[in-house]
Amino acid sequence: MRIRKEWKPWDPSVDFKKVPGTMGVYEIADEQHACIYIGYAGGTSPHGLRGELYRIFGMPPGSETWNWSHPQPDGIAPELRQRARYYRLEENSNAYSRWVECLTRYREDYDDVPELNHDARAPRVPYLGRYHWKSEGI
Protein backbone atom coordinates (compact mmCIF):
# COMPACT_ATOMS: atom_id res chain seq x y z
CA MET A 1 0.00 0.00 0.00
CA ARG A 2 1.29 3.46 -0.87
CA ILE A 3 1.25 6.47 1.46
CA ARG A 4 -2.33 7.61 1.10
CA LYS A 5 -1.84 11.36 1.46
CA GLU A 6 -1.74 14.48 -0.66
CA TRP A 7 1.60 16.07 -1.52
CA LYS A 8 2.43 19.10 0.63
CA PRO A 9 4.76 21.89 -0.45
CA TRP A 10 7.76 22.70 1.72
CA ASP A 11 7.00 26.38 2.02
CA PRO A 12 6.23 29.00 4.69
CA SER A 13 2.96 27.18 5.48
CA VAL A 14 4.98 24.38 7.11
CA ASP A 15 4.92 24.62 10.91
CA PHE A 16 8.32 23.06 11.48
CA LYS A 17 7.68 22.14 15.11
CA LYS A 18 4.60 20.20 14.06
CA VAL A 19 6.48 18.03 11.57
CA PRO A 20 6.69 14.74 13.53
CA GLY A 21 9.99 13.97 15.20
CA THR A 22 9.02 10.30 15.16
CA MET A 23 9.98 7.25 13.12
CA GLY A 24 8.28 6.69 9.78
CA VAL A 25 8.53 6.88 5.99
CA TYR A 26 8.41 9.83 3.62
CA GLU A 27 8.20 10.48 -0.10
CA ILE A 28 9.70 13.43 -1.93
CA ALA A 29 8.33 14.86 -5.20
CA ASP A 30 9.70 17.28 -7.73
CA GLU A 31 8.06 20.32 -9.32
CA GLN A 32 5.78 18.05 -11.41
CA HIS A 33 4.58 16.14 -8.32
CA ALA A 34 6.49 13.07 -9.49
CA CYS A 35 7.90 10.98 -6.67
CA ILE A 36 11.69 11.05 -6.93
CA TYR A 37 12.70 9.55 -3.60
CA ILE A 38 11.33 7.39 -0.80
CA GLY A 39 13.14 7.48 2.52
CA TYR A 40 12.63 6.68 6.15
CA ALA A 41 13.49 7.88 9.64
CA GLY A 42 14.51 4.91 11.72
CA GLY A 43 15.24 4.37 15.38
CA THR A 44 18.60 6.12 15.32
CA SER A 45 17.54 9.11 13.25
CA PRO A 46 18.59 12.05 15.45
CA HIS A 47 15.43 14.09 14.93
CA GLY A 48 13.06 11.61 13.29
CA LEU A 49 11.04 12.59 10.22
CA ARG A 50 11.50 16.25 11.09
CA GLY A 51 15.27 15.86 10.94
CA GLU A 52 15.21 13.85 7.70
CA LEU A 53 13.08 16.44 5.92
CA TYR A 54 15.33 19.19 7.26
CA ARG A 55 18.32 17.39 5.77
CA ILE A 56 16.64 17.51 2.38
CA PHE A 57 14.81 20.82 2.38
CA GLY A 58 16.49 22.88 5.11
CA MET A 59 14.34 25.06 7.36
CA PRO A 60 10.97 26.06 5.87
CA PRO A 61 11.22 29.55 4.35
CA GLY A 62 10.42 32.17 6.95
CA SER A 63 10.93 29.84 9.93
CA GLU A 64 12.97 31.03 12.86
CA THR A 65 16.19 29.36 13.84
CA TRP A 66 15.82 27.10 16.81
CA ASN A 67 17.71 25.65 19.74
CA TRP A 68 18.43 22.20 18.38
CA SER A 69 21.41 20.35 16.98
CA HIS A 70 20.84 20.72 13.26
CA PRO A 71 21.49 17.38 11.53
CA GLN A 72 23.88 17.55 8.60
CA PRO A 73 22.82 16.60 5.07
CA ASP A 74 25.55 13.94 4.83
CA GLY A 75 24.57 11.20 2.43
CA ILE A 76 21.75 13.17 0.83
CA ALA A 77 22.26 13.43 -2.94
CA PRO A 78 22.72 17.07 -4.03
CA GLU A 79 20.25 16.40 -6.86
CA LEU A 80 17.60 15.44 -4.32
CA ARG A 81 18.11 18.67 -2.40
CA GLN A 82 17.88 20.67 -5.63
CA ARG A 83 14.76 19.04 -7.04
CA ALA A 84 12.75 18.41 -3.86
CA ARG A 85 9.59 20.52 -3.72
CA TYR A 86 6.87 18.42 -2.10
CA TYR A 87 6.67 15.78 0.60
CA ARG A 88 4.29 13.42 2.31
CA LEU A 89 4.94 11.21 5.28
CA GLU A 90 3.58 8.45 7.45
CA GLU A 91 4.41 7.87 11.09
CA ASN A 92 5.18 4.21 11.55
CA SER A 93 7.13 2.30 14.18
CA ASN A 94 8.10 -0.29 11.57
CA ALA A 95 9.93 2.35 9.57
CA TYR A 96 12.38 0.09 7.76
CA SER A 97 9.94 -2.62 6.71
CA ARG A 98 7.40 0.02 5.71
CA TRP A 99 10.12 1.71 3.63
CA VAL A 100 10.82 -1.52 1.77
CA GLU A 101 7.09 -2.00 1.32
CA CYS A 102 6.70 1.50 -0.17
CA LEU A 103 9.62 0.89 -2.54
CA THR A 104 8.14 -2.47 -3.53
CA ARG A 105 4.76 -0.93 -4.17
CA TYR A 106 6.33 1.86 -6.23
CA ARG A 107 8.27 -0.59 -8.38
CA GLU A 108 5.18 -2.69 -8.99
CA ASP A 109 3.38 0.45 -10.18
CA TYR A 110 6.21 2.03 -12.21
CA ASP A 111 8.46 -0.96 -12.95
CA ASP A 112 11.37 0.66 -11.13
CA VAL A 113 12.14 2.32 -7.82
CA PRO A 114 12.10 6.16 -7.73
CA GLU A 115 15.01 7.55 -9.71
CA LEU A 116 16.95 8.93 -6.73
CA ASN A 117 16.64 5.67 -4.82
CA HIS A 118 19.20 4.17 -7.22
CA ASP A 119 22.23 4.20 -4.99
CA ALA A 120 24.47 1.75 -3.23
CA ARG A 121 22.51 1.95 0.03
CA ALA A 122 19.22 0.96 -1.56
CA PRO A 123 17.69 -2.15 0.01
CA ARG A 124 17.01 -5.37 -1.85
CA VAL A 125 13.47 -4.64 -2.94
CA PRO A 126 11.47 -7.84 -3.36
CA TYR A 127 9.36 -8.64 -6.41
CA LEU A 128 5.76 -9.51 -5.73
CA GLY A 129 5.80 -12.20 -8.42
CA ARG A 130 2.46 -13.93 -8.87
CA TYR A 131 0.90 -11.41 -6.47
CA HIS A 132 1.78 -8.61 -8.87
CA TRP A 133 -0.82 -5.88 -9.22
CA LYS A 134 -0.77 -2.16 -9.83
CA SER A 135 -2.36 0.48 -7.62
CA GLU A 136 -5.58 1.99 -8.84
CA GLY A 137 -5.28 5.26 -10.73
CA ILE A 138 -1.72 4.66 -11.98
Partner: protein
Protein backbone atom coordinates in the same frame (compact mmCIF):
# COMPACT_ATOMS: atom_id res chain seq x y z
CA UNK B 1 -17.01 2.42 51.68
CA UNK B 2 -19.38 3.48 48.93
CA UNK B 3 -17.64 3.55 45.55
CA UNK B 4 -20.85 3.94 43.52
CA UNK B 5 -20.89 6.77 41.00
CA UNK B 6 -22.95 9.83 41.83
CA UNK B 7 -25.68 10.87 39.44
CA UNK B 8 -23.46 13.68 38.13
CA UNK B 9 -20.49 11.37 37.67
CA UNK B 10 -22.64 8.87 35.79
CA UNK B 11 -23.89 11.62 33.50
CA UNK B 12 -20.32 12.76 32.77
CA UNK B 13 -19.17 9.20 32.11
CA UNK B 14 -22.10 8.54 29.76
CA UNK B 15 -21.40 11.76 27.86
CA UNK B 16 -17.70 11.02 27.44
CA UNK B 17 -18.35 7.39 26.51
CA UNK B 18 -20.77 8.40 23.77
CA UNK B 19 -18.34 11.03 22.52
CA UNK B 20 -15.47 8.54 22.27
CA UNK B 21 -17.55 5.85 20.56
CA UNK B 22 -19.47 8.03 18.14
CA UNK B 23 -17.09 10.90 17.38
CA UNK B 24 -13.54 9.71 18.01
CA UNK B 25 -13.37 6.03 17.03
CA UNK B 26 -14.76 6.56 13.49
CA UNK B 27 -11.90 8.98 12.72
CA UNK B 28 -9.29 6.31 13.29
CA UNK B 29 -9.93 4.56 9.99
CA UNK B 30 -8.08 7.35 8.18
CA UNK B 31 -5.02 7.87 10.35
CA UNK B 32 -1.58 6.30 10.07
CA UNK B 33 -1.15 2.91 11.78
CA UNK B 34 0.70 4.65 14.59
CA UNK B 35 -0.75 8.11 14.05
CA UNK B 36 -1.81 10.31 16.93
CA UNK B 37 -3.43 13.21 15.13
CA UNK B 38 -6.53 13.78 13.07
CA UNK B 39 -7.01 16.62 10.59
CA UNK B 40 -6.98 20.20 11.95
CA UNK B 41 -10.66 20.50 10.98
CA UNK B 42 -11.63 17.39 12.94
CA UNK B 43 -9.46 18.45 15.88
CA UNK B 44 -11.19 21.82 16.04
CA UNK B 45 -14.63 20.25 15.67
CA UNK B 46 -13.95 17.80 18.53
CA UNK B 47 -12.56 20.55 20.74
CA UNK B 48 -15.59 22.72 20.19
CA UNK B 49 -17.86 19.82 21.12
CA UNK B 50 -15.91 19.31 24.35
CA UNK B 51 -16.12 23.01 25.17
CA UNK B 52 -19.87 22.88 24.58
CA UNK B 53 -20.00 19.92 26.97
CA UNK B 54 -18.27 22.06 29.62
CA UNK B 55 -15.38 19.64 29.97
CA UNK B 56 -12.54 21.58 28.38
CA UNK B 57 -9.38 21.34 30.53
CA UNK B 58 -11.11 19.35 33.26
CA UNK B 59 -8.44 19.79 35.90
CA UNK B 60 -8.22 23.59 35.67
CA UNK B 61 -9.81 25.09 38.82
CA UNK B 62 -12.91 27.24 38.42
CA UNK B 63 -11.04 30.36 39.62
CA UNK B 64 -8.84 30.01 36.54
CA UNK B 65 -11.75 29.54 34.18
CA UNK B 66 -11.87 25.74 34.10
CA UNK B 67 -14.62 23.37 35.23
CA UNK B 68 -12.59 22.25 38.27
CA UNK B 69 -13.69 18.63 38.05
CA UNK B 70 -12.52 16.62 41.07
CA UNK B 71 -9.78 13.98 40.87
CA UNK B 72 -12.09 10.99 41.44
CA UNK B 73 -14.31 11.96 38.53
CA UNK B 74 -11.26 12.74 36.39
CA UNK B 75 -9.92 9.28 37.17
CA UNK B 76 -13.19 7.76 35.96
CA UNK B 77 -13.11 9.95 32.86
CA UNK B 78 -9.46 9.07 32.15
CA UNK B 79 -10.49 5.44 31.74
CA UNK B 80 -13.19 6.42 29.24
CA UNK B 81 -11.02 8.84 27.24
CA UNK B 82 -8.45 6.25 26.27
CA UNK B 83 -10.91 3.72 24.86
CA UNK B 84 -9.83 4.02 21.25
CA UNK B 85 -6.86 2.88 19.19
CA UNK B 86 -4.67 5.96 19.71
CA UNK B 87 -6.20 6.58 23.12
CA UNK B 88 -3.41 5.72 25.52
CA UNK B 89 -1.10 8.50 24.42
CA UNK B 90 -3.52 10.69 22.47
CA UNK B 91 -6.78 10.52 24.46
CA UNK B 92 -9.62 11.82 22.26
CA UNK B 93 -6.87 13.32 20.05
CA UNK B 94 -6.37 16.11 22.56
CA UNK B 95 -9.96 17.30 22.31
CA UNK B 96 -10.21 17.83 26.08
CA UNK B 97 -7.29 20.27 26.12
CA UNK B 98 -3.96 20.15 27.85
CA UNK B 99 -3.80 21.35 31.43
CA UNK B 100 -0.80 23.27 32.74
CA UNK B 101 1.47 21.69 35.36
CA UNK B 102 -0.38 21.95 38.69
CA UNK B 103 2.57 23.59 40.44
CA UNK B 104 2.07 26.76 38.45
CA UNK B 105 -1.09 27.45 40.45
CA UNK B 106 1.24 28.12 43.40
CA UNK B 107 3.71 30.15 41.33
CA UNK B 108 4.39 33.86 41.80
CA UNK B 109 2.07 36.34 40.12
CA UNK B 110 4.80 37.17 37.63
CA UNK B 111 5.28 33.48 36.79
CA UNK B 112 1.52 33.00 36.45
CA UNK B 113 1.33 35.85 33.96
CA UNK B 114 4.24 34.53 31.95
CA UNK B 115 3.52 30.78 32.04
CA UNK B 116 0.30 29.70 33.73
CA UNK B 117 -2.22 31.82 31.86
CA UNK B 118 -0.63 31.27 28.42
CA UNK B 119 -0.51 27.53 29.21
CA UNK B 120 -4.21 27.51 30.07
CA UNK B 121 -4.90 29.34 26.80
CA UNK B 122 -2.69 26.73 25.09
CA UNK B 123 -0.43 29.45 23.76
CA UNK B 124 2.56 27.93 25.52
CA UNK B 125 3.56 24.30 25.86
CA UNK B 126 5.71 22.91 28.64
CA UNK B 127 7.89 19.95 29.57
CA UNK B 128 9.02 18.35 32.83
CA UNK B 129 12.76 17.89 33.27
CA UNK B 130 13.81 15.61 36.11
CA UNK B 131 15.75 12.58 34.84
CA UNK B 132 19.37 12.80 33.77
CA UNK B 133 21.79 10.40 32.12
CA UNK B 134 22.89 9.48 35.65
CA UNK B 135 19.38 8.21 36.46
CA UNK B 136 15.80 9.17 37.08
CA UNK B 137 14.49 6.92 39.82
CA UNK B 138 16.67 8.43 42.52
CA UNK B 139 16.64 12.16 41.77
CA UNK B 140 18.05 13.14 45.15
CA UNK B 141 21.36 11.56 44.18
CA UNK B 142 21.16 11.41 40.38
CA UNK B 143 20.67 15.10 39.64
CA UNK B 144 24.03 16.47 38.59
CA UNK B 145 22.89 19.47 36.57
CA UNK B 146 24.24 22.36 38.55
CA UNK B 147 23.06 25.94 39.02
CA UNK B 148 25.46 28.49 40.45
CA UNK B 149 24.27 31.84 41.75
CA UNK B 150 25.77 34.86 40.02
CA UNK B 151 24.32 38.11 41.34
CA UNK B 152 20.63 38.16 40.60
CA UNK B 153 20.78 35.24 38.22
CA UNK B 154 21.76 31.57 38.09
CA UNK B 155 24.04 29.90 35.57
CA UNK B 156 22.97 26.35 34.75
CA UNK B 157 25.19 23.65 33.25
CA UNK B 158 24.34 20.02 32.60
CA UNK B 159 21.55 18.22 30.81
CA UNK B 160 18.37 16.21 31.02
CA UNK B 161 17.14 12.99 29.46
CA UNK B 162 13.74 11.40 28.65
CA UNK B 163 11.91 14.73 28.55
CA UNK B 164 8.68 14.34 26.60
CA UNK B 165 7.76 17.29 24.44
CA UNK B 166 10.84 19.39 25.20
CA UNK B 167 11.62 19.75 21.48
CA UNK B 168 8.38 21.66 20.85
CA UNK B 169 7.84 23.23 24.27
CA UNK B 170 8.03 26.93 25.02
CA UNK B 171 9.16 26.45 28.59
CA UNK B 172 10.07 23.68 30.98
CA UNK B 173 10.25 23.04 34.70
CA UNK B 174 13.69 21.61 35.39
CA UNK B 175 15.11 20.30 38.64
CA UNK B 176 18.66 21.39 39.29
CA UNK B 177 21.19 21.04 42.09
CA UNK B 178 21.78 24.43 43.69
CA UNK B 179 23.60 23.17 46.79
CA UNK B 180 25.74 20.04 46.46
CA UNK B 181 26.12 19.74 50.23
CA UNK B 182 22.46 19.36 51.06
CA UNK B 183 21.24 16.20 49.29
CA UNK B 184 17.54 16.38 48.45
CA UNK B 185 17.30 19.84 50.09
CA UNK B 186 19.86 21.06 47.59
CA UNK B 187 17.55 20.64 44.60
CA UNK B 188 15.63 23.59 43.19
CA UNK B 189 12.98 23.83 40.46
CA UNK B 190 13.47 26.46 37.75
CA UNK B 191 11.13 27.55 34.99
CA UNK B 192 13.21 28.01 31.85
CA UNK B 193 12.26 29.28 28.41
CA UNK B 194 13.42 26.95 25.67
CA UNK B 195 14.79 29.87 23.66
CA UNK B 196 17.23 30.79 26.43
CA UNK B 197 20.78 30.89 25.05
CA UNK B 198 22.56 27.70 26.10
CA UNK B 199 19.41 25.52 25.97
CA UNK B 200 19.76 22.90 23.25
CA UNK B 201 17.85 19.85 22.05
CA UNK B 202 20.72 17.49 21.25
CA UNK B 203 18.63 14.72 19.77
CA UNK B 204 15.29 12.98 19.84
CA UNK B 205 15.31 9.46 21.26
CA UNK B 206 12.95 7.11 19.46
CA UNK B 207 11.13 4.58 21.60
CA UNK B 208 9.09 1.44 20.97
CA UNK B 209 5.94 3.38 20.15
CA UNK B 210 5.89 6.11 17.53
CA UNK B 211 7.07 8.82 19.83
CA UNK B 212 10.27 10.34 20.96
CA UNK B 213 11.73 11.78 24.09
CA UNK B 214 14.60 14.23 24.13
CA UNK B 215 18.16 14.64 25.22
CA UNK B 216 18.83 18.20 26.36
CA UNK B 217 21.99 20.09 27.21
CA UNK B 218 22.39 23.34 29.13
CA UNK B 219 25.59 25.27 28.57
CA UNK B 220 26.09 28.40 30.65
CA UNK B 221 22.34 28.89 30.53
CA UNK B 222 21.63 32.04 32.52
CA UNK B 223 18.21 32.46 34.13
CA UNK B 224 17.00 35.11 36.58
CA UNK B 225 16.52 34.35 40.26
CA UNK B 226 12.82 34.96 39.68
CA UNK B 227 12.77 31.78 37.55
CA UNK B 228 12.81 29.65 40.71
CA UNK B 229 9.52 27.82 41.18
CA UNK B 230 8.63 27.59 44.86
CA UNK B 231 11.44 27.80 47.38
CA UNK B 232 15.16 27.53 46.75
CA UNK B 233 15.98 23.97 47.83
CA UNK B 234 12.32 22.91 47.61
CA UNK B 235 12.52 21.24 44.22
CA UNK B 236 12.63 17.66 45.45
CA UNK B 237 9.38 17.99 47.39
CA UNK B 238 7.73 19.64 44.36
CA UNK B 239 8.87 16.82 42.07
CA UNK B 240 7.68 14.16 44.51
CA UNK B 241 4.25 15.74 44.80
CA UNK B 242 4.01 16.09 41.01
CA UNK B 243 4.94 12.45 40.46
CA UNK B 244 2.56 11.11 43.12
CA UNK B 245 -0.40 13.07 41.73
CA UNK B 246 0.39 12.18 38.15
CA UNK B 247 0.46 8.47 38.86
CA UNK B 248 -3.29 8.25 39.45
CA UNK B 249 -4.59 9.42 36.04
CA UNK B 250 -1.57 7.71 34.46
CA UNK B 251 -2.80 4.45 36.00
CA UNK B 252 -6.45 4.96 35.05
CA UNK B 253 -5.56 5.68 31.41
CA UNK B 254 -4.08 2.19 31.14
CA UNK B 255 -7.38 0.67 32.19
CA UNK B 256 -9.15 2.38 29.29
CA UNK B 257 -7.36 0.55 26.50
CA UNK B 258 -7.45 -2.65 28.57
CA UNK B 259 -11.21 -2.34 28.98
CA UNK B 260 -11.62 -1.78 25.23
CA UNK B 261 -9.33 -4.74 24.45
CA UNK B 262 -11.37 -6.91 26.81
CA UNK B 263 -14.67 -5.88 25.21
CA UNK B 264 -13.29 -6.70 21.77
CA UNK B 265 -12.08 -10.09 23.03
CA UNK B 266 -15.48 -10.92 24.54
CA UNK B 267 -17.23 -10.10 21.25
CA UNK B 268 -14.69 -12.02 19.19
CA UNK B 269 -14.92 -15.10 21.39
CA UNK B 270 -18.66 -15.24 20.71
CA UNK B 271 -18.26 -14.83 16.95
CA UNK B 272 -15.21 -16.90 16.15
CA UNK B 273 -15.98 -20.56 15.54
CA UNK B 274 -13.31 -23.28 15.76
CA UNK B 275 -13.90 -27.01 15.51
CA UNK B 276 -17.61 -26.32 15.21
CA UNK B 277 -17.96 -24.28 18.42
CA UNK B 278 -17.49 -20.60 19.27
CA UNK B 279 -14.31 -19.74 21.17
CA UNK B 280 -16.45 -18.60 24.08
CA UNK B 281 -17.51 -22.20 24.70
CA UNK B 282 -13.88 -23.21 25.47
CA UNK B 283 -12.97 -23.19 29.12
CA UNK B 284 -9.45 -21.93 28.38
CA UNK B 285 -10.94 -18.83 26.72
CA UNK B 286 -13.54 -18.36 29.45
CA UNK B 287 -10.82 -18.33 32.09
CA UNK B 288 -8.81 -15.76 30.17
CA UNK B 289 -11.85 -13.51 29.93
CA UNK B 290 -12.64 -13.92 33.62
CA UNK B 291 -9.04 -13.14 34.52
CA UNK B 292 -9.34 -10.00 32.39
CA UNK B 293 -12.45 -8.98 34.28
CA UNK B 294 -10.79 -9.59 37.66
CA UNK B 295 -7.72 -7.57 36.65
CA UNK B 296 -9.85 -4.68 35.45
CA UNK B 297 -12.20 -4.52 38.43
CA UNK B 298 -9.55 -4.83 41.14
CA UNK B 299 -7.17 -2.29 39.64
CA UNK B 300 -10.01 0.17 38.94
CA UNK B 301 -10.94 0.14 42.63
CA UNK B 302 -7.38 0.76 43.70
CA UNK B 303 -7.07 3.73 41.32
CA UNK B 304 -10.31 5.24 42.56
CA UNK B 305 -9.30 4.71 46.18
CA UNK B 306 -6.03 6.57 45.57
CA UNK B 307 -7.89 9.41 43.88
CA UNK B 308 -10.41 9.61 46.73
CA UNK B 309 -7.65 9.83 49.34
CA UNK B 310 -5.84 12.55 47.42
CA UNK B 311 -9.11 14.43 47.01
CA UNK B 312 -9.80 14.24 50.76
CA UNK B 313 -6.36 15.65 51.48
CA UNK B 314 -5.14 12.44 53.14
CA UNK B 315 -1.69 10.94 52.53
CA UNK B 316 -1.93 9.08 49.23
CA UNK B 317 1.61 8.36 48.11
CA UNK B 318 1.38 4.66 48.95
CA UNK B 319 -2.00 4.36 47.21
CA UNK B 320 -0.89 6.24 44.09
CA UNK B 321 2.15 3.98 43.76
CA UNK B 322 -0.01 0.89 44.26
CA UNK B 323 -2.49 2.14 41.65
CA UNK B 324 0.30 2.82 39.17
CA UNK B 325 1.84 -0.59 39.74
CA UNK B 326 -1.40 -2.57 39.64
CA UNK B 327 -3.08 -0.77 36.74
CA UNK B 328 -0.08 -0.85 34.42
CA UNK B 329 0.63 -4.52 35.09
CA UNK B 330 -3.03 -5.58 35.01
CA UNK B 331 -3.61 -3.71 31.75
CA UNK B 332 -0.54 -5.41 30.25
CA UNK B 333 -1.98 -8.82 31.12
CA UNK B 334 -5.44 -7.96 29.78
CA UNK B 335 -4.07 -6.75 26.46
CA UNK B 336 -1.81 -9.77 26.16
CA UNK B 337 -4.70 -12.20 26.79
CA UNK B 338 -7.06 -10.34 24.46
CA UNK B 339 -4.45 -10.40 21.71
CA UNK B 340 -4.01 -14.13 22.26
CA UNK B 341 -7.76 -14.72 21.95
CA UNK B 342 -7.73 -12.90 18.60
CA UNK B 343 -4.95 -15.16 17.29
CA UNK B 344 -3.32 -14.06 14.01
CA UNK B 345 -5.63 -11.09 13.63
CA UNK B 346 -4.49 -9.87 17.03
CA UNK B 347 -0.96 -9.19 15.84
CA UNK B 348 -1.94 -7.45 12.60
CA UNK B 349 -2.08 -3.70 12.22
CA UNK B 350 -5.73 -4.09 11.21
CA UNK B 351 -6.47 -4.37 14.90
CA UNK B 352 -5.29 -2.11 17.74
CA UNK B 353 -3.76 -4.84 19.93
CA UNK B 354 -0.19 -4.78 18.59
CA UNK B 355 -0.05 -1.02 19.09
CA UNK B 356 -1.45 -1.28 22.61
CA UNK B 357 0.93 -4.15 23.37
CA UNK B 358 3.92 -1.92 22.60
CA UNK B 359 2.48 1.16 24.26
CA UNK B 360 1.38 -0.50 27.49
CA UNK B 361 4.86 -1.96 27.97
CA UNK B 362 6.20 1.56 28.29
CA UNK B 363 3.80 2.25 31.15
CA UNK B 364 5.55 -0.21 33.43
CA UNK B 365 8.67 1.93 33.10
CA UNK B 366 7.42 5.51 32.63
CA UNK B 367 6.57 7.68 35.66
CA UNK B 368 8.60 5.35 37.87
CA UNK B 369 9.16 1.67 37.17
CA UNK B 370 7.12 -1.06 38.84
CA UNK B 371 10.14 -1.74 41.03
CA UNK B 372 10.41 1.88 42.13
CA UNK B 373 6.72 1.87 43.05
CA UNK B 374 7.46 -1.07 45.34
CA UNK B 375 10.40 0.82 46.83
CA UNK B 376 8.14 3.82 47.53
CA UNK B 377 5.52 1.60 49.15
CA UNK B 378 8.09 -0.34 51.17
CA UNK B 379 9.47 2.89 52.60
CA UNK B 380 6.04 3.98 53.77
CA UNK B 381 5.19 0.54 55.05
CA UNK B 382 8.38 0.05 57.02
CA UNK B 383 8.30 3.53 58.52
CA UNK B 384 4.80 2.89 59.82
CA UNK B 385 5.62 -0.54 61.20
CA UNK B 386 8.78 0.64 62.90
CA UNK B 387 6.67 3.22 64.69
CA UNK B 388 8.61 6.16 63.27
Amino acid sequence: MDMARSEEQQMIIDTVRKFIREEVRPLEADIDPDGSEVSPEDTERLRQMVKDMGMWQMSVPEQYGGPGIDLVTRTMVAEELTQHKAGLYAPAFGAFGEAPPAHLYDATDEQKEKYLYPAIREEKRHFFGLSEPSGGSDPARAIRTRAVRDGDSWVINGGKLWNSGADTADFGIIYVRTDPTKGRQGITAFIVDTDTPGFKVNRLIQVMRVYHTTELSFTDMRVPHSAILGEEGGGFALANDYLARNRIPYAAECLGIAQYAHELAVEWSKQRVTFGEPLASRQSIQWMLVDNEIDLRTSRWIALDAAAKAERGEPFRFESSMAKLLCTEAASRVIDRSMQIYGGLGMSKDMPFERWYREIRIRRIGEGTSEIQRVVMARDLLNVRSGS
